[in-house]
Symmetry: C2
Amino acid sequence: MAKSDTRIQKKNQAAILGAGLEVFSQFGFRGSTLDQVAEAAGMSKPNLLYYFKSKEGIYTALLSQLLNDWLEPLQALDAEGDPIEQIIAYARRKLAMSQHYPRESRLFANEIIQGAPRIGDVLRGELKDLVDEKVAVIRRWQAAGRIADVSPYHLIFTIWSLTQHYADFDVQVRAILPDEDPFEGAALHLDRTLQAILTP
Amino acid sequence: MAKSDTRIQKKNQAAILGAGLEVFSQFGFRGSTLDQVAEAAGMSKPNLLYYFKSKEGIYTALLSQLLNDWLEPLQALDAEGDPIEQIIAYARRKLAMSQHYPRESRLFANEIIQGAPRIGDVLRGELKDLVDEKVAVIRRWQAAGRIADVSPYHLIFTIWSLTQHYADFDVQVRAILPDEDPFEGAALHLDRTLQAILTP
DNA sequence: CGTGTGTTTGACCAGATGGTCAAATATGAG
DNA sequence: CTCATATTTGACCATCTGGTCAAACACACG
């Protein structure tokens, strides 16, 4: 019985999710108010709640909408490709996401630092399964002697932490490097680091 | 004219700061309430405010009290020591802090992700100066050919991100590695990674 | 143009939250 | 023990916040 969304509904839902991303990524869930989101979306608070049941509804809609985009780069890691090339390509995709979608990165960071109360199940389910699968791929590469024998789990943590650092701690990075674009140096450094770790 | 604190004052101030650390590190500043802090400190809300002027007062007292501990490991980096040894020792100290003081790490992470509204000046001042000083040390080591020629700034970011990741994203790390202590593998991985990057 | 449906909002409410205050209670120096 | 001072708290207040509701408005379709 679900009617397909009208033009206006699509436009407003998109505006609300955009505003929610802006606000929630900066202040976290509890630190944000509906008035802030409404203001950022350019509409009244009751109108927000005409499109989404509650504050929580906006937030969880955002989280689940973004989760797929967030996992996609790792899914693209190809067991048939060249090992070092594949891993570096993955790291570059992740870094590019930090550069172009820092708000999404900070949204997840806020959520996870505060104990992941709303996506803990996804972390322990979908995410863990995906990581386990790719860890198996890396282990096969290692067994064949094609890359060095580092812990695949910690290798993945290395890529996550290094790339997300530039988005999540952007203020700190720019406090240290006020006169340059951190992402240029980061890309080069990331390449060299992974080369150094992975070369057998 | 400042009277030295009595026994009771010392005890209660410590209790409040401990409670504040517990609560603020989990929910961030805006996400925490004075009632939560009072409850965790085992006293009434008005009594909290007898010792600290405001919620903000507790928070900023915490931040500035912890900042020194946070910068100390980097200060201890010794220009006269063996380069690779010194850098790895720094990374290990940082990792140990993430392991033993994860709440402090998350407190800073929350603050910085949300734009560091209260410690931006410290980042651009004290922290930047300290980092610049140590970067100069690393550059001298590199000029002497004693370590590889990586960007010193990004090397430091690497150490920060890798070590703090295990504290700040603890929930995610443990979701992926439910059956082991992540810090054991992390220490080994960190050593190997830095060896690989730094060996000329 | 008129009518039914979808959209928007001003006014409002209940509960939470940061902070105040006067009164009660504990403490310790003489 | 006594009293001045330090400590503690119940009751309270103003503001903020998530959410509701009825009324107003816009719009498409006959």
